[in-house]
Amino acid sequence: MDTAAGHLAAGPDTGQALRLELERKRLSLRVLLETAQELSGILQPRKIMETFLLTAMGPIGAMGGVAVLARPASCEGMVLSRGLPAREAEALEQHLPDICDAYFPYRDLDGDFPSSKIRAIRRDQAGGDSLLPRGMDILLCFSVDDEHCGLLALGPLLAGTNADAGPDADLGTGLDGALDEDASNLLHSLLHLLIGALRGALAVNSIRQLSVDLGRKNDRLTEALASSQTVQRGLDRRVHQLAAINELAEEMAHLHEVQGILDSFLLTMLGAFSVSCGLALVLDRAKRCVDLAVRGAPDTGLSSYGTADVLVYKAFTASGARSVDPLTVEPVSDPATALAGCGLPFEGRCAMYFALDRDVQGVLVLGETLSGEALEDEDAQMLRAQVGTLLGYVQGARHLAIITALNDDLQRQNEELTRTVTELTEARQTIDLLERAGERVRSFLHAEGLRSRRFSWMDCGIILVAAMLLGFLFNLASPNGVPLVPEHLRRLPAQTVTAQKARELQQSEGALIVDARPQAFFDQQHVRGAANLTPALFDMMYLMRFAQVPLSTPLIVYGGNISRRWDEDVAARLAAREHERVLVLEDGLPAWVARGYPVEP
């Protein structure tokens, strides 16, 4: 505007020139405006390039144009041409990497693009001169952003335009020698618009690309979530199964009966695999017995040995087992068909044949799952493993039964042994006792044998004591018994008289002398004038001799010795006959004789 004001001040020529100038400026601005309008709203870079090429060629006056938008780092991009023969345009597109090499030398310098800088390149400066068609003298390189560079080639210029530009050629130093300043400015401005539009479009495109990527990633995430949920459900089921199996293991560890183990196992399997009905059967061919557990279905007589045998045999033939090896577990293929007609109370969907040994075999049949789906392979594998575990427990239970039986047997034998030992001990004690008794008898007999030959004071004592006992006892019982103590000791002793006094009494008072001794003694020697009166014959002799004797006559009795006091006895009896004076001679006949008194014979 300062320049325009300068021109107005110059004069009418100057005013003409000024008007022209303004006209041109207006034209330029209108071109810019139109270009801006055209470019706005377009988001595809190709379309932007095409539009720009169309709009820019006109104002500049070029007959042809080439626009290149490329990513020098990857030598990719697009080549657009106008006003060129189709063959050249095609050749240009094929030469894109060469164009990149020739015109975008900065691509190796990472991040060192001159930002939105527009460079005008002369034809002779450029290395790839032959790449562009002839006549395209206006070459402008520009960078759109960090990755994209562009090239705009225009030409040849229309003559008119050149004529228009002719006067202006001296006006200043344009960016391009082929254009005047205004055109050059216009071209720069247009390029700026193009760069801006391209940047916007690229940004929008990259944003859209990002959005698309984001959407795709989102989809992928959703898918991943869904699959993880599926896996989660599978894991949950596994955890549930494992927990159930763990509980089963704990429960079965306390079970010692095959029947109980089967019940518990079947219940757990039904719960773990969500099966509505099932059957577990163990057949013992040696004992000909069947252990059967049925859940979710009525028992249809499978517990009978024959039916169970048929079922197990069919399961064996339908399974993959070739022979009955110990601890075999084989799945039964197509159990619904294979086990049909065996009296199964439900349709078997999954079956396992198992054998503990040649005698003990069995089958596990599971019905339909609650969800109606068939068991997965993994479930079948787990089921097979669990049946293997079941075999272990059944074997353990059978071993325990055998051990218990053996133990009981042992216990019984032990008790019998203990009893035998007790009896032996008692017998030995008895024998000991008998031996001791025998020894005592022997020693007793031995001692007796010795004693019989010897004199023994003890035997004397025993015989004496026995004689005393017998004598006294017999005396107590006998009617002719005698008192142990002499009778005279129980009475008061009679009055005594010395021999001298007795003699006096005999002589003075006519005392009667009584001899109390037995007659033999009396006959041998007695006091002269004495009368014999023995205790044994007292009554008779008294009557014969003393009945007439006056009671007042003194009676002097003698005749005692160390063993018997006959005198005392007779004196007592005479006193009892009421004789007034009964005396006993002191010291008896010896005292009388010692005095020298008369005796006879």
């Binding site: 025998g438 008898v441 022997r442 007999l445 031995h446 007796e448 044998g449 004693r451 019989s452 030959r453 010897r454 004199f455 023994s456 035997d459 004397c460 015989i463 004496l464 026995a466 004689a467 005393m468 017998l470 004598g471 006294f472 017999f474 005396n475 006998s478 002719n480 018994g481 005698v482 008192p483 142990l484 103590v485 002499p486 005279h488 000791l489 037995p518 033999a520 003694f521 006959d523 041998q524 044994a536 010795n561 160390i562 063993s563 018997r564 006091r565």
Partner: protein, 159 residues
């Protein structure tokens, strides 16, 4: 051999004869005395040796002693002890008889019955003979003894 036979006859078999005879005599002598203890007590008293207090007791015990010893002697039980006891009794009897013979006590022997023949020196000789028999029995083992069964039984047990 002959010497052995004589030794047997004069030892064991004579001892058996003495044993049976002596035992029979004492058993026979005791029977009457046991039945008539009072008369026997009088007999003892007439010997004038036993104190008055002991007369009845002796009269009760002595016959039973004679009976037991006589029976054991016949049976052959404790022959040695019994013969010793009978020997002792006979010694006492001999002493009593001797004392009363010296005293010239006019009594019966009282050996078997209360009314025996008068005691004489023959009585003492008889008692001494019996004493000799008792001594013979004491020193010589005799056959047919009840106790001789013990050793044979013992041998049977031991075998």
């Amino acid at each position: 051999m002959r010497k052995n036979i004589w030794r047997d006859v004069l030892g064991r078999w004579l001892a058996l004869a003495f044993r049976l005879y002596l035992g029979g005599v004492f058993v026979y002598a005791s029977v009457y005395k046991i039945g008539y203890a009072a008369e026997f007590a009088e007999t003892i008293a007439s010997y004038q040796i036993v104190p008055a207090l002991a007369v009845n007791a002796v009269a009760l015990v002595l016959p039973w002693l004679e009976l037991i010893c006589g029976a054991l002697l016949v049976a052959g039980v404790r022959v040695r002890t019994v013969s010793a006891m009978l020997g002792a009794l006979l010694v006492v009897f001999c002493l009593a008889v001797a004392v009363n013979l010296l005293r010239e006590t006019p009594i019966d022997c009282g050996c078997f019955h209360t009314l025996d023949e008068r005691m004489t020196w023959m009585t003492l000789v008889r008692d001494l003979t019996w004493l000799g028999m008792a001594i013979h029995v004491f020193f010589f083992d005799s056959p047919l003894a009840l106790e001789r069964r013990f050793p044979s039984t013992l041998k049977e047990i031991e075998t």
